[in-house]
Amino acid sequence: SQQGEEDPQALSIQEGENATMNCSYKTSINNLQWYRQNSGRGLVHLILIRSNEREKHSGRLRVTLDTSKKSSSLLITASRAADTASYFCATVRGGSQGNLIFGKGTKLSVKP
C-alpha cells in the first residue's frame, strides 16, 4: 500500500533555480525520509526527518515536515544538472518495524 504521494509527478527547471517537491501521507509516522534515484541506479538516502522535527538542512537541501497536515517538502536550492533524478519520499509508520513505504516519486529535470 502506498503511503506517500509526491507532487508534482514531474518538474523541469533551469540550472541555478530552486526546486520544490511535496509529499503527503496518510497515517501517523515515526520519521520521513527523502531518497534520490538516478536513471537505472539504486536509491541514495538524502535526509531523514523525525516526527518531532519541523525542519532540517543538509547542504543545498532543506526539508520541512508538518505533521498536522501530514505533509513534507524538499527544497533543492541552486540546482545543478547533476540533480536530475527521481526523488522519493518514504515514511516509517509509528509503531511499525521500520518498513519504508515509498511514494511514486517526482521526476526532476534540470536543464543546463
Partner: protein, 114 residues
C-alpha cells in the same frame, strides 16, 4: 566503507523459469530488506530480515517468491516460477539496527521476464 552489493545486475528469463538474486549487505548491518520496484513506481518492500530471522514478509508472494538470509549476513531472493509481471528492479538494502535507521540501497538487479 563498502556499500550493499548485489548480483547479477541484469537478468533476462522466460516466463515459468526460475531466477535467484544475491545480496551482501554493509558489514555489521543487522537488518536486510528486499524491495521490488516496477517501472514508474516507488519501491515496495517484499521482506525484511533482522539478523537471520524474518520480521515482515507480508507482501511477499509466497507461492512463487522465497528468501533466506543464512548466518545473518548474505541473502538470496528466488522466484520460481517467474511471471511476466515480475519484471522489475529488485533492490536490496541494509540498515545498522532496524526501524529507525537510514537504509542503504544496493544498485539493484533488473529482471526482464519474456
Amino acid at each position: 566503507e563498502a556499500g550493499v552489493a548485489q548480483s547479477p545486475r541484469y537478468k533476462i528469463i522466460e516466463k515459468r523459469q526460475s531466477v535467484a538474486f544475491w545480496c551482501n549487505p554493509i558489514s555489521g548491518h543487522a537488518t536486510l530488506y528486499w524491495y521490488q520496484q516496477i517501472l514508474g513506481q516507488g519501491p515496495k518492500l517484499l521482506i525484511q530480515f533482522q539478523n537471520n530471522g524474518v520480521v515482515d514478509d507480508s507482501q511477499l508472494p509466497k507461492d512463487r517468491f522465497s528468501a533466506e538470509r543464512l548466518k545473518g549476513v548474505d541473502s538470496t531472493l528466488k522466484i520460481q516460477p517467474a511471471k511476466l509481471e515480475d519484471s522489475a528492479v529488485y533492490l536490496c538494502a541494509s540498515s545498522l539496527i532496524g526501524a529507525q535507521d537510514t537504509q542503504y540501497f544496493g544498485p539493484g538487479t533488473r529482471l526482464t521476464v519474456l
